[in-house]
């Protein structure tokens, strides 16, 4: 095993675990959609970063913040459902991204490439993933309560908007890290599929949240190995692995 592959695997494991944990809080339809769309919103930022010779996660994160801000702004301006606004921002980003990203790097931006992960990148991925995990762990019970009922959460003195904002920032951060591993088209799946799988298999919150983390880690690990052994692209290998776990979970659904 080369050092380079080891770095890729470490990045994948940390990002996959944190993404799975974050995904377990996407309990509503609306949230799941946001997670999926944000990957696409990252694309123009990645393109810009490539043109300027910057790290693509950096560009992605910047554009994700911009995308979240725009959706928030549109929400104030109109009474259209958030899903519609997310949709608008999402396709516009995809179109702009397609124009900006240099043709040679387009596939990499869309589907990821783990063959260039350096030691520094692995270290940064691990540190940020742990930070995201800690932040999300802190807001977890409040977010669950807000998912159950706004009123109940408010009556307990929880500031829902604040918690949601922290949560969105965490998603933006994990998406920015994840685009390197599986690309902007597939990064949403990194967040959504492990939690969907764990939900089928768990009968309480502990099993559900730990299960989401475990399946996130396992998908990135197995997908990484498939890439190494067969030479299939890593991004699709990882996502198909997690989809495979999801299909299995349907058989054992509780």
């Amino acid at each position: 095993m080369t050092d380079q592959f080891l770095f890729s695997l470490i990045s994948g494991i940390f990002i996959g675990g944190a993404a799975g944990f974050l995904g377990s809080l996407m309990l509503t339809k609306r949230m799941a959609l946001v997670g999926d769309a944000l990957g696409h919103v990252a694309l123009p930022g990645m393109g810009l970063a490539l043109l300027l010779g910057l790290d693509i996660s950096f560009g992605a994160f910047f554009f994700l913040l911009l995308g979240i801000f725009l959706i928030w702004l549109f929400e104030i301006k109109t009474s259209l459902p958030t899903e519609v606004l997310v949709g608008v921002v999402f396709v516009a980003s995809l179109a702009i991204g397609f124009l900006i990203v240099p043709k040679l790097e387009l596939l990499e931006a869309l589907f990821g490439d783990i063959s260039k992960v350096s030691f520094e990148m692995a270290l940064i991925s691990a540190v940020f993933s742990i930070l995201i995990f800690l932040v999300v762990n802190r807001i977890y019970p409040k977010m669950i309560l807000a998912n159950i009922s706004d009123d109940l959460a408010k009556s307990e003195g929880i500031k829902i908007k604040r918690q949601n904002f922290i949560y969105l920032l965490s998603i933006a951060a994990i998406v920015a890290l994840g685009v390197k591993i599986v690309g902007s088209l597939l990064v949403g799946a990194l967040v959504i599929i492990p939690a969907a799988t764990a939900r089928n298999l768990s009968k309480n919150l502990k099993e559900y949240s730990l299960g989401s983390i475990a399946i996130g880690i396992l998908s990135c690990f197995c997908g990484g190995l498939i890439f190494k052994l067969t030479g299939f692209p890593a991004g699709p290998s990882i996502i198909l692995t997690s989809t495979f776990f999801f299909l299995i979970s349907l058989i054992f659904k509780k």
Binding site: L27, T28, P141, I144, L145, N147, I148, S149, D150, D151, L152, K154, S155, E156, R199, S202, K203, N204, L205, K206, E207, Y208
Partner: protein, 229 residues
């Protein structure tokens, strides 16, 4: 605030999305009362409870005695059954320690085994009790109870009010109760507020005459008052 009074509402007006929901509501609640809030669907009963909780905007004045803790039992929680969560975890969301949870289970008449059960697998009666128990963690002095309109079997309905009566005595609670059920009003309430956007009456249950009720419900339904000694 005068002695014994724990809640004062003055000229409460609520407008949501351009529609008047509550108009010029004024009343007071004394410590230890069971106030039932009665009215047809869409009368603004749930909105009133939410105003008292402080989760909806309003005009006017709602003043609670300072330092008071309020427990809230919502009408329904449609999303909770989708979440893989057991009863103990639901209580832990509120940060309740295990021994307090066990004490509460005891007083709401449920066994400890239920802690391991998934919320989605509870019967509607059990779930209702759990919601009451959840509201009671952190030991509130006031309980706001929004009656579920559907989903509770009649046996369950009867016993939840017996439970409320018992809890009131045990914990020295003041209870504000939204209900449709007139027999509850006669059996349990010390006071009754009839609401249909405006306050139509505020009285002790015995003064709740058929004339007042038909005024409240628009005269479409007949009511029979049982005799109570």
């Amino acid at each position: 605030m005068e002695k014994g009074i724990i809640l004062k509402v003055e000229n409460l007006n609520v407008e949501l999305e351009g529609e008047k929901i509550l108009e010029n509501l004024s009343f007071e609640v004394k410590k230890g009362e069971i106030l039932t809030i009665l009215g047809p669907n869409g009368a603004g009963k749930t909105v009133l409870l939410k105003n008292l909780l402080g989760v909806l905007p309003f005009k006017g004045k709602i003043e609670w005695k300072s330092g008071l803790k309020i427990g809230y039992v919502p009408q329904r929680l449609p999303f909770i059954k989708d979440i893989p969560m057991n009863v103990e975890e639901f209580f832990k969301l509120k940060g309740a320690p295990t021994n307090e949870i066990k004490k509460i289970l005891n007083s709401i008449g449920l066994k400890e085994e239920i802690l391991e059960k998934k919320i989605g697998d509870l019967s509607s009666g059990q779930f209702q009790r759990i919601l009451v128990g959840w509201a009671l963690t952190s030991s509130p002095q006031v309980l706001l109870f929004d009656e579920p309109t559907t989903g509770i079997d009649i046996g369950g309905q009867e016993s939840i009010y017996e439970l409320l009566e018992k809890l009131k005595k045990e914990r020295d609670l003041t209870i504000l109760l939204v209900t449709h059920d007139l027999s509850i009003v006669y059996k349990l309430a010390t006071n009754c507020l009839c609401l249909n956007k405006k306050m139509l009456c505020y009285s002790i249950p015995k003064e709740l005459t058929p004339e007042r009720l038909s005024q409240l419900y628009g005269g479409q339904i007949k009511f029979y008052q049982h005799s109570h000694d």
